[in-house]
Every structure is written in structure tokens, then in C-alpha cells.
């Protein structure tokens, strides 16, 4: 009933505006074209500006060793919540992996980014059975694996990839660094409710 009411009110209001046809938006806003090395450079600059740390790897097989070193350097338990494709890598037996949703005790998650956006230095994460949403928000330390080849120029390139892939993921999380707040005296404080650190493992091609 409210639905009909709201639509009736909207249509009555619009009828009064008849003849003032809305202007059709012009060509979409486009950012300047970037080649692969420009995309990489811009992504790195922006990601670091957003307080991400970045470590470059040559191959995805190096991820487990890099994660182990990170956990040890930060004195973290050798337990991770992990995206399923990454959990299948060859891990040292001391590190336990859980591919389910993050729980209160989860301190570190290792995720696989769907894309990196050069324009804003943002990670694009797509949820699904292999990549829980909670891994992005619950842990204190978020390690994100990003393939260099997945760095695109702009958000619009990510949308194009999603359309090509068919269904829209349940959640698309664009992440620009660790969580923060300016709510106490406008002083930016890193580590609000989400991760206190975002560490990107950038895997070259």
C-alpha cells in the first residue's frame, strides 16, 4: 500500500513537470589513459598514501613465506583466516589456515584481491564462497594478495569486469588502507573498527 502511495505521489509530482525533459547525460567521465607501468606506479603511490604497506613478490608461490615472515615480525599467532585459493598453496606446517568466516579471535586474514584500482590506490574485493567478507573487516591485520596484472586504471574497469563475469558479487568491498576515524577532535587515528594494518603482497607477472 505504501509502495502504491509513494509511486502515486512521485508520478503526480513529475506530471507537473511535463515538457521539462531531463537532459541525457553526456559521454561518461573518463580518466586519462594509463599504460601498465603508469597504472602500477599510481597504484603504489596511492596505496602507500592510504597507509598500506607493500611488499613485492615474483610468484604466488612466495606468498606463504612472506606471510610467515609478516606474522613473526608482528609477533602474531601463526593462524590465519585465508581465502580458499590461497589456502591451497604450499604452506609451512606451522601455519594453520581457516577458510571460513572470521571470528572474534581472528587476528590475521590473508585475502586475494579481485583488482587494484590505480586511480585511487584501492583494493577491490569480491565476496563469495572462496572469499568471506568478514576477512576484510574483523581481523587486526589484513594481508592482501594482488596480482600486478589485475591493476586496472579506474573503478569503471572493475565494473566492466564484473559485468563480463555475469552476476554481481554479494558484496564488493573497495578498500583504501587500514580503518580510521577522525571523530575525536578531527585527529585521524588509524585502527578504528576494522584492520589496523593493510599489507599488500603484490605479485609480479
Amino acid at each position: 500500500m505504501s509502495r502504491e502511495q509513494v509511486f502515486a505521489d512521485v508520478r503526480r509530482a513529475l506530471a507537473a513537470r511535463k515538457g521539462q525533459a531531463p537532459r541525457t547525460p553526456e559521454a561518461p567521465y573518463a580518466i586519462a589513459a594509463m599504460d601498465a607501468s603508469e597504472r602500477l606506479a599510481r597504484f603504489l603511490t596511492r596505496a602507500v598514501q592510504h597507509a598500506c604497506s607493500v611488499e613485492r613478490l615474483d610468484a604466488i608461490a612466495q606468498v606463504p613465506a612472506a606471510v610467515q615472515a609478516y606474522l613473526e615480525a608482528h609477533a602474531l599467532p601463526l593462524q590465519i583466516a585465508s581465502a580458499r585459493p590461497l589456502a591451497a598453496l604450499d604452506w609451512p606446517s606451522v601455519i594453520t589456515r581457516d577458510t571460513g568466516a572470521a571470528v572474534m579471535q581472528t587476528r590475521t586474514a590473508v585475502s586475494l584481491a579481485a583488482a587494484g584500482i590505480a586511480e585511487s590506490g584501492t583494493l577491490a574485493m569480491c565476496s563469495g564462497p572462496d572469499s568471506p567478507i568478514t576477512h576484510n573487516f574483523v581481523p587486526e591485520y589484513h594481508i592482501v594478495v594482488l596480482r600486478e596484472a589485475d591493476i586496472v586504471a579506474a573503478q569503471e574497469d572493475v565494473w566492466q569486469r564484473l559485468r563480463a563475469g555475469g552476476a554481481m558479487p554479494r558484496a564488493v568491498n573497495l578498500i583504501a588502507g587500514p580503518s580510521r576515524t577522525g571523530d575525536v577532535e578531527q585527529t585521524i587515528q588509524i585502527g578504528a573498527h576494522g584492520p589496523r594494518a593493510v599489507h599488500i603482497l603484490l605479485v609480479g607477472s
Partner: protein, 470 residues
């Protein structure tokens, strides 16, 4: 969550004399203005983006029924449910119904101005739900039992010491924290349990995407995401004007929103949610509801205040408003302060009840010069004033004085004589300093500043002298 009582005038007078509010306002203003300016400057063409954003909004508003239908069908195709509410009471009833059906006890909330607009928290609390605001600023004012004083930074009026006092009083058994880092960490620990306990998560919806049936939230803290992901039921509250056609349109708005709001190039988290948890998903809510609120918006559609519906609630207008930065948000008396509130509050809640709001504006135009969707705010404020006059709402004293001025202005000889007399009188009163320290009938002005005395001859005298020369 009460807004302060009294008239605008009395609230503004109190605000001007409140030392901690003045300290807080002094901290905030230079920061927001400078950060926005540098975030805008690094864009190749902000003007083109503004223009495009305004065009997209105009196009959607012109066919709002079509886009709402497409959006609702897409949400339903993704397994979500869309509810429409004509007014605040209906919106509250719908949300209460969802919470009852979910057998909820604890409700976590991300920041939502629509939920403030429909006064949701008192309604939920009256039915016995534990309602937890999880945005740090909203959490602080929830503890203080106050309304937000800024739409982006709700607790902007609180100093660090006041936050420390509130936390000490409400978090028994914890040592008093004084530093920003300590206070943020304390809130993180206290709210963590609530996120995991919550049965229902309520968030706003900055944008709604017709192409995919998605709702979009933009945050820095990650609180909205924890609220909507860990609860069994996610409820999105948004206004009917928030729909956008496509994800590409969304990108236009994401480029301007953070820059205009906080001066960041992007917020930390932008989340696009589509429907409830799917088969095989390890997390996410089991139910996904969108409550779309009209509450006066369709009355603005197609009318004199149509342009205001483009508003994306970034807060740039209040950050650049000299009146807002002198008196803060509470003086405006409702959830939307600053220039946006000066327009929305009288439209939603009555022009007579909020007569002062559009009149407490210098029409300096800074708000509209920074508005990312090019809303002609000063023009709308002027239109509101003229509507108020047409409705006979202007106070008698003001009406009489204006009528007298109008009569004199139609008699040029008298007008010029009075002008010559007046300028000389003012100059005599000012004395050698050239400044008037007090003036009968203008005490409110001279109480806080001097009135500069007129210099030299009147304009007409000079005009006539110049003409004589050439």
C-alpha cells in the same frame, strides 16, 4: 537523542557563549576547508565532474518512478526486499516489524541520516531493543544523549576531554583514557562484542544502484560493514531520491563525495551490497531489506525546491558556512544543520515553525560554490524567504519597517535628504575614530563589533559632482 529546545535565536546565542563548542568549532573549520581544497585541486577537472553529477541527478529525478521501479525489481531479483514508506511513522513501523519478525534483541547501527530523520532510535528503544550506534561520532553522542551536530562528523562539538568524561562514565572498570588513540581503542574494544552480538544491522544507503539492485555505503571506520555483515538481518534505510542508474554513475559520485565531505581522495571503505547471503557464502546477512523513505521528498519533486533533491549529504555546505562555523549544528534544531538544514528543515517540518532558519543566512554563496551537485542553495534560501512572506509569516516589526522603507524609496527627494542627514549623523556619532561603538536600535550589531561610519559624501552627491565635471 533530543535536539536542544528553545528558539533558533536563543540556541544560537547560547552556542556563541559556549566555550567548549567554540573551541571545537575553531579546530574543525580550517581543517575541512583546506583539506577539501587540496583534494579538489589534484583532480584534472572537478568542474566537469560536478556538472556531470548534477546532470545524472537531474536525469534520474526527472524519471524517478522509472528508476525506482528498476531498482526495486533488481533488489528483488537478488533476493532482497524493498519497502516503501510515505512518512517517518510508516518507516519506523516497517523497521520495527522486521526486527520483531527477526526476534531481535541487539541492533547495531552504521551512520544513517535517514534514521535520524525518522527518529528511529527512540522507537526501537521503546520496544526494548538494545540499540548501539557504532560510528564513533554517533556512539559518542548516543552516550551523551544528544543529536548529531554535523552530518559527517556528528560529535564535532565535543572536545577530547568531554569524550574522555563520557567514556569514563559509561565504561565502568576501564581506566580513564585521555589520548585520541586511547579513546579510539577503547571504543573499538567495547563495540567489538556488540558487533558479534547483534541480530540486526541497520545502515544508511549513500547510493542505490538500479543496474544491480545494490546499496552503497561509504565509511572510514569499517563499522557499517561489521554491522551489516555480522548480523542475521541487514536493513538499509535511504531516501527515494538516492537511486542512480548504473555503477558507472556511482563512480562519478564516489570521486566527488569523499573530496567534498572530508577532503579525502576516497574514504577507506566503499561497500556495494547486493541481496542477502547466497548459497555457499560463509558470511553475510540471511535477510536483506531496503526501506525507502519519502517523508516529504515527493512534495519537493517537480516544485520550487526540486534541485535540493540532488543533495548527496556530503556536508561541504556547512563546512564552508560562516553561520554554521559560528554556532555549530545544534542551533539549527533538527538533524540537518547548515545551509542544507536551512532549506530541508522548514520544508520537512514547517516554514512557520522554522521561520528563522532561511533568514539566518548572509547569502554569501560559499555553500553553493562548493556544492558538488551544484544546488543553488542561496537561491533556494531566497525562494523560501519569499514563500514565508507570501504566507504572511514575516514578523510585524520587520514588515512595518520594510513597508516604511519601501514608501520612502518611492519618494527619491525625501530618500536622498534622509540619506544625507543619516550619513552625517552617523559620522558625527563616530567621532574621530570613524567607528561607532554603540547605536540605539542596533545594539545586537554593535554588541559584538563596531559599525564603520560612512565616509565622504553620499553616492548621489558624488554622482552629481562627477556628472558636473564631465
Amino acid at each position: 537523542m533530543s535536539a536542544p529546545g528553545g528558539s533558533f535565536e536563543s540556541r544560537a546565542a547560547l552556542a556563541l557563549k559556549d566555550p567548549s563548542l567554540q573551541k571545537a568549532l575553531g579546530n574543525f573549520k580550517p581543517l575541512f576547508v583546506a583539506k577539501r581544497a587540496s583534494a579538489i585541486a589534484e583532480l584534472p577537472d572537478f568542474e566537469a565532474l560536478r556538472e556531470r553529477a548534477a546532470q545524472i541527478k537531474n536525469a534520474v529525478l526527472g524519471e524517478l518512478d522509472v528508476w525506482l521501479e528498476r531498482y526495486a525489481s533488481a533488489v528483488e531479483a537478488a533476493g532482497g526486499k524493498v519497502h516503501f514508506a510515505s512518512d517517518a511513522a510508516e518507516a519506523r513501523e516497517i523497521i520495527l516489524g522486521i526486527c520483531r519478525d527477526a526476534n531481535a534483541k541487539t541492533i547495531c547501527k552504521g551512520k544513517s541520516m535517514v534514521s535520524e530523520e525518522i527518529a528511529l532510535n527512540p522507537a526501537l528503544e521503546a520496544e526494548g531493543y538494545e540499540v548501539v550506534e557504532t560510528d564513533l561520532g554517533e556512539y559518542i553522542i548516543q552516550l551523551a544523549q544528544e543529536a548529531p551536530s554535523h552530518i559527517i562528523a556528528p560529535a564535532i562539538h565535543k572536545t577530547r576531554e568531554q569524550v574522555a568524561d563520557l567514556f569514563e562514565a559509561h565504561h565502568p572498570g576501564r581506566p580513564r583514557e585521555e589520548s585520541v588513540a586511547g579513546l579510539v581503542n577503547e571504543a573499538r574494544h567495547v563495540l567489538r562484542d556488540k558487533f558479534f552480538e547483534a541480530d540486526v544491522g541497520i545502515t544508511g544507503g549513500n547510493f542505490l544502484i538500479a543496474e544491480t539492485g545494490s546499496s552503497v555505503i561509504v565509511t572510514n571506520e569499517g563499522n557499517g560493514d561489521l554491522s551489516q555483515t555480522l548480523a542475521r538481518v541487514h536493513i538499509v534505510t535511504s531516501g527515494i531520491e538516492r537511486v542512480l542508474p548504473t555503477l558507472d554513475d556511482l563512480s562519478v559520485f564516489l570521486r566527488i563525495l569523499a573530496r567534498s565531505a572530508t577532503g579525502q581522495d576516497t574514504e577507506c571503505y566503499t561497500t556495494i551490497s547486493t541481496g542477502p547471503r547466497r548459497a555457499g557464502d560463509p558470511d553475510g546477512p540471511q535477510e536483506y531489506h531496503v526501506v525507502l523513505v519519502d517523508n516529504g521528498r515527493s512534495k519537493m519533486l517537480g516544485g520550487k525546491f526540486h534541485d535540493m533533491l540532488r543533495c548527496i549529504r556530503c556536508g561541504a555546505c556547512m563546512n564552508h558556512c560562516p553561520v554554521y562555523s559560528a554556532i555549530g549544528g545544534h542551533a539549527y534544531g533538527w538533524v540537518y544543520p547548515g545551509p542544507m538544514g536551512a532549506i530541508l528543515t522548514p520544508l520537512f517540518n514547517g516554514m512557520a515553525e522554522h521561520y528563522d532558519l532561511p533568514n539566518a543566512c548572509t547569502l554569501n554563496g560559499r555553500c553553493q560554490s562548493v556544492c558538488p551537485v551544484k544546488i543553488p542553495l542561496t537561491e533556494l534560501i531566497r525562494t523560501l524567504r519569499s514563500e514565508q512572506v507570501k504566507a504572511g509569516l514575516m514578523p510585524a516589526r520587520q514588515r512595518t519597517l520594510l513597508a516604511a522603507w519601501g514608501w520612502v524609496a518611492r519618494h527619491p527627494d525625501l530618500y536622498h535628504a534622509l540619506e544625507r542627514f543619516g550619513t552625517r549623523l552617523l559620522r558625527a556619532r563616530a567621532g574621530r575614530a570613524g567607528r561607532i561603538k554603540s547605536l540605539p536600535g542596533a545594539g545586537a550589531w554593535t554588541q559584538v563589533r563596531d559599525l564603520p561610519a560612512p565616509q565622504g559624501d553620499t553616492f548621489i552627491e558624488q554622482w552629481q559632482a562627477q556628472r558636473g565635471k564631465s
